[in-house]
Amino acid sequence: MTTILDIQDLSVSLPPGGDREFAIEEVSLTVDSCEIVCVVGESGSGKSVTAFSVMGLLDRRALNPVAGTIRLADKDLLTIDDRTLRQLRGERVSMIFQEPMTALNPVMRVGDQIAETLEIHTGLSSTQRHARVLQALADVQLPDPKSLAISYPHQLSGGQRQRIMIAMALILEPKLLIADEPTTALDVTTQAKILALIKQLQSSRGMGVLFITHDFGVVAEIADRVIVMQNGRIVEQGQVDHLLNAPKHPYTRLLIDAVPSMTPPERRHSNDKEALAANRIHKIYGKSGWFGRGRVVHAAQDISLTLRRGETLGIVGESGSGKSTVARCIMRLIDPTSGEILIDSIDIAALRQSELRRFRHQIQIIFQDPYRSLNPRRTVGDSIVEGPMNFGVAAVEAWERARELMETVGLSAESLSRFPHQFSGGQRQRICIARALAMKPRILIADEAVSALDVSVQAQVLDLLDDVRQEFQLAMLFITHDLRVAAQICDRIMVMQDGQLVERGSTATVYANPQQQYTRELLAAAPGRRKFPQKVG
């Protein structure tokens, strides 16, 4: 084992006027050959800045290395000239990125993009390059390399695109691979396969891998060694088993504890009144083209569900499963193609918008992106009272209730007069919950409501959702792609795939004894399943 990458006391400055002076401060770490080092931390921890420093890809208008050394292949990457650095990139050190769709040039065939690396660094002829490209595609286990090589990125799936990125990065067999959240944008089953692929290529080629992630599940799956970062500094590092089982630093402990367990806790079975029933919801997109043969997508097919007061029903599935479509149909943000949605035996699916208005206060929704869910030009107070005042609540009363609700969601009543940009993501999500509760709804839909949040914040918002469900006897429909989250909050669960229902049942039953093949795959793919099996939820 030799050290390939050696970072000593690296500090990178932020532009003046920010909330801190350095993006990363006095970071020292090494990566040996044949090992995977995971750098883990929440947003703003500086983990990606560390990775980009090595590649020399920092945006120099904002970020500048001011101290330290980065040694790779006997050279200090911070002092060598651009030409030498360009030679090292791709040949000695390569990188794969979070979002393979945007990381690939959309107007260039993927084969050509892989060949570009060869063109830059080798004198191979175009026939030789082509042969190497096909071999590289086969190495990342892509089927039919010949036809894949002439495809464009948008014609491929997310997993295939990330495999292309890996093929491109590894074609010159670099000693070091830097992976910046390479599976975060992927579905969980795809993530499992990509992680396995990286691990396999790493060990067969004896590479060192610097793997950036926010997910301790992924860490447990892939890491040999772990480095935990917080606010630009390394707080703890160690061998993976040691660090996961006996974290020393409180922050590490906090992060590990915040990972939701895959084991659903004991939950009572609700026999309360039915709040909502949806029967055979069907949503078809793109009905007909000009000549009646447009592409048709069955986003949701024959979905039926019932929701009782005081219970949480989860809909889990990967992207494109139709889980959000169902939620938006029930909200009537989109119109279902067919099917009934019954509230108090009235079919709201059939109502016109004008008639629908008086049912609006009964169902409320919380969206995924806390940064776009609040009108940036209005104070949070204005956003919260808007709904009640639409329904004739007097201003004094509406504001009084808004103040109470802010306390309920753990924020101060004074902050009602502030604007959304003055709050963090987690705080905004709390405000959105307050806004929904202001309507005194019977049904609350949470559409990936915690997916955009850091893991420590996520746990708090989940607790809040569970609390308000109990306090207000809400019927909650919880849409998520995250099986860990679903395990912790849902009483019952529905698994969807490609617009269809795969399996349903109580959460405990489905997790303990999945009946369908797809559900089994989904559960098996949850990262870190073996290392975080039985945590107390």
Partner: protein, 314 residues
């Protein structure tokens, strides 16, 4: 694909119909009686009535419109009141100078503007960027004809390098005279076009340079020049080409003014002469002709998008 092309061509029909309707309404509803205008100040009531009959102005408007539309569909844009020649013939006679001026302008503008905008985007904030953008704002601010006169004053009157005015056909009078006569009009007309294209190029390339795949190319070790040429410009092409298409309208307007300044006997001069003489069929025919050229060019550009971006599917 073929299906799409058919649909796209069909979709220009309503737009052309709207243009035709608009031009028709414009000329019919304008206050003032075309017949009286044509007849002139010393005409008797009978003269006016005769001309009105002759123009078919006594029929109901709807019938007039469809008769006119029917003529257009048969390639008949009407007949000039004064010269009594078909408008299509007049257009054909005057087409060459205008077409060549437009072509030299488009070619020259693209050759200058695309590199300028790309460099400005790459060296964003630098002196060359500021200069380029200053030039661009200036180009939008100076009236075309003032620029034309300044150029004439400098190059023709003071330096005596180029002829003051006029047009020489490359086909009958040779390439040399053609170029020396077309140089100043081209330069005049190009300034605003360069301003437009370089601005869009800069904006588009700036945006593309922020994209992840540019970072990927750097991570591969690609050189900056090749990143610009191979990755950035290719991806920035669609908005640039689009703005060139939209700029055709600007160009047509500029042609009218430029031809007037440089005394070029093209379509622009034909328009002006017709307007001053109130030769309705020519005005109608020319506006329609220019609009259809605009629609046609933009149709072609639209169809070219597939070549530039494989994501745009038909």
């Amino acid at each position: 694909m073929l299906n799409y092309i058919a649909v796209r061509i069909l979709s220009t029909v309503p737009v052309m119909g709207i243009v035709a309707l608009f031009v028709f309404i414009l000329l019919r509803l304008a206050p003032g009686d075309p017949a009286a205008v044509i007849a002139g100040d010393y005409a008797t009531a009978e003269d006016v009535e005769r001309i009105r009959q002759q123009l078919g102005l006594t029929d109901p408007l709807l019938i007039q419109f469809f008769r006119w539309l029917g003529d257009i569909l048969q390639g008949d844009l009407g007949t000039s009141i004064f010269s009594n020649k078909p408008v299509t013939v007049l257009i054909a006679q005057r087409l060459e100078p205008t077409l060549l001026l437009a072509l030299t302008t488009i070619i020259f503008s693209i050759l200058v503007a695309v590199p300028l905008g790309t460099i400005a985007a790459y060296r964003s904030g630098s002196a060359i960027d500021r200069l380029a953008m200053l030039f661009s704002v200036g180009g939008f601010s100076i009236p075309v004809f003032v620029l034309g006169y300044i150029l004439i004053y400098v190059f023709s009157m003071q330096l005596k390098l180029l002829p003051v005015q006029g047009y020489k056909s490359p086909f009958t009078e040779g390439i040399g005279p053609f170029l020396s006569h077309i140089a100043l009009p081209t330069l005049t007309l190009s300034v605003i076009f360069i301003a437009l294209i370089s601005r869009m190029t800069r904006a588009s390339v700036t945006e593309v340079l922020e994209e992840d795949y540019i970072r990927t190319a750097r991570a591969k070790g690609q050189s900056e020049l090749r990143i610009l040429l191979r990755h950035a410009l290719r991806n920035a092409a669609v908005p640039i080409v689009t703005v060139i298409g939209i700029g055709i309208a600007l160009l047509i307007g500029g042609v009218v003014v430029t031809e007037s300044v440089f005394n070029i006997p093209g379509l622009g001069r034909l328009v002006l002469d017709a307007v001053l003489a109130r030769d309705y069929p020519i005005i109608q025919g020319l506006i329609l002709f220019f609009s259809f050229v605009y629609i046609f060019v933009n149709l072609i550009i639209d169809l070219c998008y597939t070549l530039l971006d494989p994501r745009i599917k038909y």
